[in-house]
Amino acid sequence: MTPGHTPAEPVAQAQPVGPARPVVGTQPVVRARDVTMTYGDLEVLHGVDLDIHRGEIFALLGPNGAGKTTTVEILEGFRRRSAGEVSVLGADPERGDDAWRGRIGLVLQSWRDHRRWRVAELLTHFAAYYPDPRDPAELLALVGLTEQAGRQVERLSGGQRRRLDVALGIVGRPELLFLDEPTTGFDPEARHEFHVLVERLAREEGVTVLLTTHDLMEAERLADRIAMLVGGRIRACGTPTELARQAAARAEVRWTADDGTPRRERAADPSRLVWELHRDANGPIAGLEVRRPTLEDTYLHMLHRETDGTDGTHGTDGTDGTDGTDGTARAA
């Protein structure tokens, strides 16, 4: 059905191991410019810009109601945007045809379909829709469901069901894979195996992954780049380190003072603080620990700054305008 479609392996071999770097001069896999979304009077997205490059694992984070789902569904072609430009794999998702669909894989949270089907039967059936599908048996081995091949879908555990969803999402060798809260309800081992699988798809096969998650550890573990969507705008975007810098999140330095009391201090430049401590102590420091800011620190910091920032602006407006008038009124 797609004569121009080729498997992604050749690209994958050209990819360096480790975080993918955007290849200069190539068109991003996902490109959004100034995308807005309005439901009636309510504007949910106020101009979202995104660039996601081939082979990249990109995480979209944000509190509930920030517009994550809306953004992802616009990219998936399931929702019409109100304004802005979107290109996904070189096409506008609103006009994506079957060939375009065949290059995209989807793993959603809420699928409970095909309960009566057997695992291998379902995977083999969905392979039939694609021009160059993966081998269902190999795929079952890849997601660790070989033993469950003959089982009915409704008899799978939650984690097994999600892994089957992943297998169905990649059976057509997608170039772009959407993962929506993929590891909710996984035990730690299943989560780890899932992470290894996603990394393998991106690093070895050049699959581009767009991950939405509430699990910040997961985002930090997997994502090359992370975008934070707050209040319908991308507030920050970059590698976890870049985000920490953007958020001005500080590393935490802990040590034990001479009198035995534990001390902690946050520092933008922990190296300088440690050097100063050494200089003051003129020797080793008991219980020294430097913790770099986790993504959670960055995220919460950014979220608070966002809220405070907004309040701050209002406060300033208030002081200049309303409060002043009120003040005058009270004075009078």
């Binding site: 569904e73 989807l106 059936h125 829709y129 021009p131 057509g172």
Partner: protein, 283 residues
């Protein structure tokens, strides 16, 4: 498109196999047949003014009702359930998935309709000297009334399935009018025994005409004296059923397209949350 056809036929075959292996669903379809046979066995007497056993009129009526029910009760229920579970969304996200889905469902509905109809007539004929078409003309009528009857109710059922809210409410919303039509369309007793206004209302809907068409195929020609018009009115049967078929297609195409277009992950989650809150869906 070839992929979609192949996948659709494969899908239809697999779904049919699942149906045949599902005791719950099979018993649902078989119950209809058994109920029809049991009632026919207990009914005595003849159609007024004829030598045709009342049981034959009843069996022909039930045959029409079986087709009617498959199109307007079973199909919408399947569509609503599969929409709620995410089957429709998964196929929407799959290249050629929606055409394949429609091919599969058509195959499934036709197979179930023909299967139950054949079973009803065969068992009735074997065990109770039930009605069978007389001569090639009768078989031909049986064929075209069945085909046109399915064309009248299947697209309409698909349209209903595209707009109904969820499987639980869907059943309640469909069953009441369906049962109403079963008793007012002359399927289980002669239509002439009903008040004229009721007859007039029932004659707007396809069931009366499906039953009348099947009676013309299954009962001897003398039985037409018991019809409201004193004849089988086959041109009218063809006309009304065709009109419903056209209306059904006109409604089904945009409504199914809209239903498929509206599916997205967040809508699916929202429905699951509501269903979980009402305690109707496990997990």
């Amino acid at each position: 498109m070839t992929n979609a056809w192949r996948a659709g036929l494969q899908r239809g075959r697999i779904e049919l196999r699942h149906l045949l292996r599902s005791p719950k669903e099979m018993s649902g379809h078989l119950t209809n047949v058994v109920v029809a046979l049991v009632i026919a066995a207990y009914v005595t007497g003849h159609v007024p003014g004829t030598h045709v056993p009342m049981a034959h009129l009843l069996l022909a009526g039930f045959a029409a009702y079986l087709l009617f029910q498959i199109g307007l009760v079973n199909l919408p229920q399947i569509l609503v359930t599969e929409r709620e579970e995410g089957t429709l969304l998964r196929l929407r996200a799959t290249p050629g998935g929606i055409p394949a889905y429609l091919v599969a469902k058509t195959l499934l509905v036709v197979a179930v309709a023909v299967g139950t109809l054949a079973l009803l007539l065969a068992v009735a004929a074997l065990l109770a000297d039930g009605p069978l078409p007389h001569g090639p003309g009768g078989w031909l009528t049986l064929l075209w009334v069945t085909t046109l009857g399915l064309l009248a109710v299947v697209p309409l059922g698909a349209a209903i399935g595209a707009v109904l809210p969820n499987p639980r409410e869907a059943l309640a919303l469909i069953m009441l009018p369906t049962m109403g039509l079963l008793f007012t369309s002359g399927t289980v007793f002669p239509i002439t025994s009903l008040p004229v206004p009721v007859q007039q209302v029932a004659s707007v809907f396809p069931l009366k005409w499906m039953a009348q068409g099947l009676r013309s195929a299954l009962l001897p020609d003398t039985a037409r004296t018991a019809e409201a018009a004193g004849s089988w009115e086959l041109p009218m049967v063809a006309l009304v059923l065709s009109a419903w078929a056209v209306l059904g297609f006109l409604l089904a195409v945009p409504l199914l397209r809209r239903a498929a277009r509206r599916e997205s992950g967040s809508r699916l989650s929202a429905r699951h949350r509501r269903a979980a809150q009402s305690g109707a869906l496990p997990g």
